[in-house]
Symmetry: C2
Subunit: 203 residues, 2 copies
C-alpha cells in the first residue's frame, strides 16, 4: 500500500467483531461497531463530499478472528454514505473476505488485512508519517506544530490496552490532547480535522 494522505486516523477497537455481523445490532453483538462506523465517517466526510486527503484505519480486536484492520481511503472511496448503516454494510463486506497480511481491496477505497497495531504503525512509520497518540493528558493541540504527513491513534470507549500503549510508544512522536472533556473517538476526529483545517486547508 502506498500511503500518501496528509492525515490518517487509526482507532483500536478492543471488542469490535472480526466476522460479518448484524447491521441491526452494531452496538451490541458486533462489539460497538457503531463507534467504528462513526469514526470512519468523520475521518472521511465533509458536507457534500469526501476528504480525498484523509484515510481511516480501524484495528478490530474482537472475536472470532482477530486482529483485522480495515482501511478506508478518501481518495478512492465510492458508494459510501455517512450513515452508520451504510458504512457498516461496507465493513461487513470486507470482513467476509479471506485475509492475509497484505491489504486486500474489498470495495472501492476499502481494504482489509490481517494486521494489528504494531504492523499498521510500522507501515505508516516507513511511509514517513509522524504518529501521535490522542489522549486526555497529552500536550494541547493548539500548542503543537505539525509538519508532513500525520497519523493520529485513538482508543475506543475502553481505551488502549497497556500492551498497545507500549507498542505505540515505540512509534509515537507525541501525545496530543484536545479538550478539557473526555470525548468520543469520532468527536476527536472532527476536532483534529478542524484544528488542522484552520491552519492549512489542504485535506
Amino acid at each position: 500500500m502506498i500511503f500518501s494522505e496528509d492525515r490518517i486516523f487509526i482507532i483500536v477497537c478492543s471488542k469490535a467483531t472480526t466476522a460479518p455481523f448484524n447491521l441491526n445490532d452494531m452496538p451490541g453483538s458486533a462489539g460497538r461497531m457503531d463507534l467504528v462506523c462513526r469514526f470512519i465517517a468523520q475521518s472521511i466526510f465533509i458536507s457534500h463530499g469526501v476528504r480525498k486527503n484523509s484515510a481511516a484505519i480501524a484495528i478490530l480486536k474482537g472475536e472470532p478472528d482477530p486482529p483485522k484492520a480495515i482501511l478506508v481511503r478518501g481518495s478512492e472511496v465510492r458508494y459510501m454514505a455517512p450513515d452508520e448503516r451504510n458504512v457498516g454494510g461496507l465493513i461487513r463486506k470486507a470482513l467476509s473476505l479471506k485475509v492475509d497480511e497484505k491489504w486486500l481491496r474489498s470495495t472501492p477505497g476499502i481494504y482489509v488485512a490481517r494486521k494489528g497495531l504494531e504492523n499498521v504503525l510500522s507501515e505508516l512509520k516507513s511511509a514517513g508519517y509522524s504518529i501521535y497518540y490522542l489522549r486526555e493528558d497529552g500536550e494541547d493541540i493548539r500548542t503543537l506544530n505539525f509538519t508532513g504527513k500525520l497519523a493520529f491513534v485513538l482508543g475506543d470507549h475502553i481505551g488502549l490496552s497497556e500492551e498497545d500503549e507500549r507498542i505505540l510508544e515505540k512509534f509515537s512522536s507525541g501525545t496530543v490532547s484536545l479538550s478539557p472533556l473526555s470525548l468520543q473517538a469520532d468527536q476527536c476526529v472532527v476536532i483534529v480535522h478542524y484544528e488542522l483545517d484552520r491552519r492549512d486547508c489542504r485535506a
Copy 2:
C-alpha cells in the same frame, strides 16, 4: 417548557419525515433522518456520558404532517445510546404521538410538538437565549464573545430556506462561522461544543 440549558442546538430539516419511519432506511424514505440522529447525538453525548447542560431541537418539515419539532434534553434523557438506530427509534416513537403546540413528553427527556422555526425561536428568545446562525460566511467563532444562554441554528444538507432565514433574522444575535470548509451539521455541533468547552467547561 422551562429551558435552562446553557447550550441549545436547533436544526431545520427540510425533508425529514413527520411520521413513524423505517429504521433501516433513514437516509432514504425517512428524508435524511440519519443526519438528524447524528445531530442529536453530538449535541448530547460525550465519552461515557451526557451533557446535562445541553439540548437539541430538530424541526422536521417533511411529509406527511409538517411541521413537528423534536426536543431532546441532556438533563433528562435516559435509555439513549449514541448510535443512529437508537436515536432514530426514540424519534420514531415521538412521531407516533398526536401533537399540538405544547411540548408533549414521549420518553424521558424527549418531547414533540407542532412547532416550526418561528415558534421555537420565539420560545427560546422569551427564555433569554442569544440566538446565533451557523453559516459559512459568518463571523469567526474565535473572535466572538458569548455570554449567557446560547442557541445555535443550523441548516441540514440543503440549508435554510429563504423564508426560514427571514424568520431567523428577526431573532438572531449574529451569524457565526467555524471552519474554512463546509461541514456537516453534526460536525458543526462538535466544534461549537469544543470551542465553548475550551473557554468554559460548564456543559
